[in-house]
């Protein structure tokens, strides 16, 4: 039972990263119809940025947690203005391809400077211990990650559903032409929303630095799992993407707990679930059916 709780907790932490990445992907897709392939590379930049800030500038984890998401959000906004916007009127596949090219560039740029080996990054001292919550000892840092991720997801939900900005973004997401016709300046929100989504990926990267191996390829395979997650949840649905992220993290951890023999299943599980969802509800669990074509 104690073991089960521990695995559940670890699963939620793993799911937190998937959820944060899926959330950013879904927010960007909702507003721009762009699937950002570089999302995994941005996550890597977040983690690497934290590492570089610590070793070369001397800024602590807390500074990185503040600086990196903002810096990457600005980077994302520049990217949107300079490159992504040029392809906005074309098929979304072109932006998918563009961000794929960017992924190769970003990964190899970091690789050429820092090599492929993993760099160690310690959790801040105050979070290095464990929390005794009765049943078992929770590593304090992981608790912090989980709390942060849940807080961010709730925060984004609040932004979208309770504020004027959120209302505009939702309107633009669901009926872009109609929103424009009603006098809402949709174009004004495209760049900030893209930057915001990129910032979320950067945040996930900084949070991941102390518990995942920091190396140039850390986002490479993860992004594909996140793609499967958003197909399961329904890419158009922000709630679905977050829920699917946590759920997949949980189930992965449970299968992993069964032992070494189940390692393969825990890796491919997300893809099997995706296959099942495609059979049963092709639009995703929480997605709406797009016009079939």
């Amino acid at each position: 039972m104690v073991n089960f709780l521990q695995h559940t907790f670890n699963g939620l932490v793993g799911g937190a990263f998937l959820a944060l990445l899926a959330l950013g992907l879904a927010v960007i897709f909702g507003m721009l119809r762009v699937v950002n392939f570089a999302h995994g590379a941005i996550y890597m930049l977040g983690a690497f940025g934290a590492y570089v800030l610590l070793t070369e500038v001397g800024l602590s984890f807390w500074w990185a947690l503040l600086v990196m998401p903002i810096a990457l959000a600005l980077f994302g906004m520049a990217l949107e203005r300079l490159l992504v916007a040029r392809l906005a009127r074309l098929d979304p596949l072109y932006n998918f391809l563009l961000t794929f090219g960017l992924t190769l560039i970003l990964q190899d740029a970091v690789k050429s400077r820092y090599g492929v080996q993993s760099s160690p990054y310690d959790a801040p001292a105050i979070l290095s211990g464990t929390l005794d919550l009765g049943a078992f000892d929770f590593p304090a840092y992981r608790v912090f990650v989980l709390v942060m991720a849940v807080a961010v997801c709730v925060g984004v939900w609040w932004l979208l559903s309770r504020t004027r900005v959120g209302m505009v973004v939702r309107a633009a997401t669901e009926r872009p032409e109609l929103s424009t016709a009603l006098g809402i300046d949709v174009g004004r929100w495209v760049t900030p929303v893209f930057g915001f989504g990129i910032g979320l990926a950067g945040l996930a990267g900084v949070l991941a630095a102390p518990i995942r191996a920091v190396n140039p390829l850390m986002g490479a395979d993860l992004i594909i799992v996140v793609f499967a997650v958003v197909v399961i949840g329904g890419l158009g649905s922000i709630f679905g993407s977050v829920a699917a992220g946590f759920a997949i993290g949980l189930v992965q951890a449970w299968v992993q707990a069964l032992g070494e023999d189940w390692a393969l299943l825990s890796q491919v599980l997300v893809f099997l679930v995706m296959a099942g969802v495609l059979l049963w509800r092709p639009a995703g669990l929480f997605g709406r059916e797009e016009a079939p074509a």
Partner: protein, 348 residues
């Protein structure tokens, strides 16, 4: 969801789309420079081009390092297979490494364990890919556009993980080593001769795709690409046509992957990685989406460039290929061959 419901939804989408020109334009932009067939090119020009291509193919290993020539041929097959889906069916597969890689492993295993002549091993590998493509394609054609790309990518990654864990068969990270190059006792250890032994298979694969595109079946695929709702309304089972194109594409990619395994005498996990899928798409876009010569030209350009870069000791190839790819997508979407074809067609 039943076929009937989908038809209804499709009919609805047409009605909506007709009022929103933007959405229609978006749907059409999938393959920007794709011609619908070869009819506009005058016959003499087509024969001249084909003759020139045959000539180039025949002298390629004389002028080029033969290993590079073999690579160009293999990647050309792979890219043409991807273009059959992307350029002629309107489906962008970002997971074709699954078929290229599966064929490479199956070919390598057949050659190692059964000592088959290499053309037979390659054929077996391509058939293995086709079998894998049945469930993957069946599920993937349920989605379109960007979702199709993500779904194929995800399934390819699944195949990658399985190959990585199934060490007793794939040798894991070590890969299959010393894949034999058997052909009725002929000595093909020289890459120069192997190139000519492999050429008929490459030509066969290219001909298969050419024949498909220029058949009534291929015309239906183009119709599906341009207006799926209308194709369905005309009574064509769109999902089944897409699946058939997917299987053909997987088979052709498999021919390339099998030859690649025999050519390198080595199969590593890289053949299944998503970067390999991405490279095939890069080649198609650089060469020209929706053209048959485009992927061949693109393959020559990319392979030659990578060879040149690694020869020059440049390690971060992704910096260059990524930049070329981003630039192609941004400002050169017709691609090399697409631009030429467009230019030729505008001449009276």
């Amino acid at each position: 969801m039943s076929e009937l419901e989908q038809d209804k939804a499709a009919a609805g989408s047409v009605a909506v789309a007709d009022h929103t020109a933007g959405v229609r334009a978006e749907a059409r932009a999938t393959a920007p420079a794709a011609p619908t067939g070869g009819t506009i090119v005058p016959p003499w020009l087509r024969w001249t081009l084909t003759g020139a291509a045959v000539l180039v193919a025949l002298v390629l290993p004389v002028n080029l390092y033969p290993t590079v020539a073999v690579d160009i041929a293999c990647w050309a097959l792979f890219a043409v297979a991807v273009d059959l889906l992307l350029g002629y069916t309107g489906l962008m597969s970002f997971g074709h490494a699954a078929f290229w890689g599966t064929a490479a492993y199956a070919t390598g295993l057949a050659a190692i364990h059964w000592g088959l002549p290499f053309p037979l091993a390659v054929l077996l590998g391509a058939l293995a890919s086709t079998v894998l493509a049945v469930p993957v394609g069946y599920l993937a054609v349920k989605r379109v556009g960007i979702y199709f790309a993500m779904v194929t990518l995800a399934f390819a990654q699944m195949v990658y993980y399985i190959a990585n864990q199934w060490r007793s068969v794939t040798q894991g990270e070590n890969g299959l080593q010393r894949v034999p190059r058997e052909l009725f006792g002929l000595d093909l250890s020289d890459e120069f001769y192997f190139y000519y032994a492999a050429l008929p298979i490459v030509a066969g694969g290219l001909w298969l795709v050419w024949r498909t595109v220029h058949s009534p079946f291929g015309r239906v695929l183009v119709a599906i690409r341009d207006n799926p709702a209308r194709a369905r309304a005309l009574g064509y089972p769109v999902h089944r046509y897409k699946l058939a194109a997917f299987l053909l594409s997987a088979f052709t990619a498999g021919l390339g992957g099998g030859l690649f395994a025999i050519g390198h005498r080595f199969v590593s996990l890289d053949v299944l990685h998503w970067t390999t899928s991405g490279k095939a798409v890069i080649i198609v876009v650089l060469g020209g989406i929706g053209t048959l010569w485009g992927p061949v030209v693109g393959s020559a350009a990319v392979t030659r460039l990578e060879d040149w870069l690694s020869f020059a000791g440049f390690e971060q190839i992704g910096l260059v290929t990524g930049a070329i790819f981003a630039l192609t997508v941004l400002i050169f979407r017709r691609g090399l061959w697409g631009t030429l074809a467009h230019w030729l067609r505008r001449r009276p």
